[in-house]
Symmetry: C2
Subunit: 204 residues, 2 copies
DNA sequence: TTGACTTATGACTATAAAGTCATTATAATA
DNA sequence: TATTATAATGACTTTATAGTCATAAGTCAA
């Protein structure tokens, strides 16, 4: 996984890509700086020229993954008009991104909690990102409540977290049942299912 | 945390209780066998007379916590008649148990994933317990579908996992907002909220 | 070409914590 | 009480891996 192989121009990104690949392959618990150096085709000391410590590497891996997803998702969602369309798009884009980065999320979700390996400060920034996402959803919910579409007594932020957890649960369920090869049809039907339950519940 | 202090007759339970207490206080990541020995008021070697290794301790801590909750919850749920009553009771009992063991679950949920510290085999048994819970819920869902109460096209097992994730998300949300002191009224209103969303969705 | 500066190296150090085992204490039995 | 069996001890060994730093290689301006 040298710079040419990975198609990255700078070492920072090259190391990050190697780290991500390693985590995808072996999970967080067996991720070591020696393996990373080896995998990136550089010496261990070099990593410390670009990253403060191991925690810094892990934090950046998680951060970059989330950032891309969030930016793509929000830009798609903002094009939609109604709260319901927004929510459907949000679910779809999230599942789509997960499917595009399935090996990464398979580890992140199934290994469920990498976060323990982070320092308290990094855990906080991880939680802030989650919260940012929930806040984004809550704004859609609030608009829906104002328009009389959604129930009035809801705590919009909490509802945001509910939706995130449904999406995550769906992905984990499919990973566990080895539906790693999401195709567009599967993503669409899963989107419809989550949307349906979230909006209308399970009642007939 | 000697045997008298903890009110346990045998060392196995005494060690387990100490381990649990330590985990509640400091989380999984800083849990060490030295601390455990110290906290239990025994020598480190003694732990190894009752547990195979550290993994065995952690596995038993998680197992015993889940087992009690599951047994209590199922016995209450089985007394109810309709699928809807069953689901409401299930949510309530789960939240109630969490509130009774708040410091434990605060760590287990917020530290979200302890599981990484377990061996592959223990991770599997952890997942089996989660699955067992989801299967239990799925049986209620199936009954509801048969009776025409719930939507027909649902994957009942997946729906089971959805409900578990909603309950967990609710607990985490309240922990994060420092609502550690659940009283019965709060549990009731949270139960109603989850039930309402799960059954009817967020639509007005 | 030389010297100054930047980047990279990897053997080495430091440390934390799991797990061991010869020794000692306690309990049971004759 | 003496003898044997069982339980407990904690100093010690082992292992894993994060992080360091003296040395070497590469780059570039004068």
């Amino acid at each position: 996984m040298t710079e040419e192989e990975i198609g990255k121009t700078n070492k920072f990104d090259c190391i990050l890509a190697s780290a991500r690949k390693l985590i995808e392959q072996e999970g967080f618990s067996s991720f070591t700086m020696d393996k990373l150096a080896n995998n990136a085709g550089i010496a261990k000391g070099t990593i410390y020229l670009y990253f403060k410590d191991k925690n810094d590497v892990l934090e950046n891996v998680l951060k970059s993954g989330f950032q891309t997803m969030f930016n793509r998702m929000t830009s798609k969602v903002e094009k939609k008009e109604t709260p319901e369309e927004k929510i459907k798009t949000l679910i779809y884009e999230n599942l789509f991104y997960i499917s595009e980065n399935k090996y990464f999320f398979k580890t992140v979700f199934l290994d469920e909690m990498h976060v323990v390996f982070l320092k308290k400060t990094s855990q906080e920034s991880y939680n802030l990102r989650r919260r940012k996402y929930a806040v984004f959803i809550s704004e859609i919910i609030i608009k829906g409540i104002d328009e009389g579409i959604f129930k009035n007594l809801l705590d919009p932020l909490k509802v945001g977290f509910y939706l995130i957890s449904l999406i995550k649960t769906n992905a984990i369920y499919n990973f566990r049942n080895n539906k790693v090869e999401f195709n567009e049809d599967l993503i669409k039907s899963e989107t419809a299912e989550i949307f349906d339950i979230f909006i209308d519940g399970i009642k007939n």
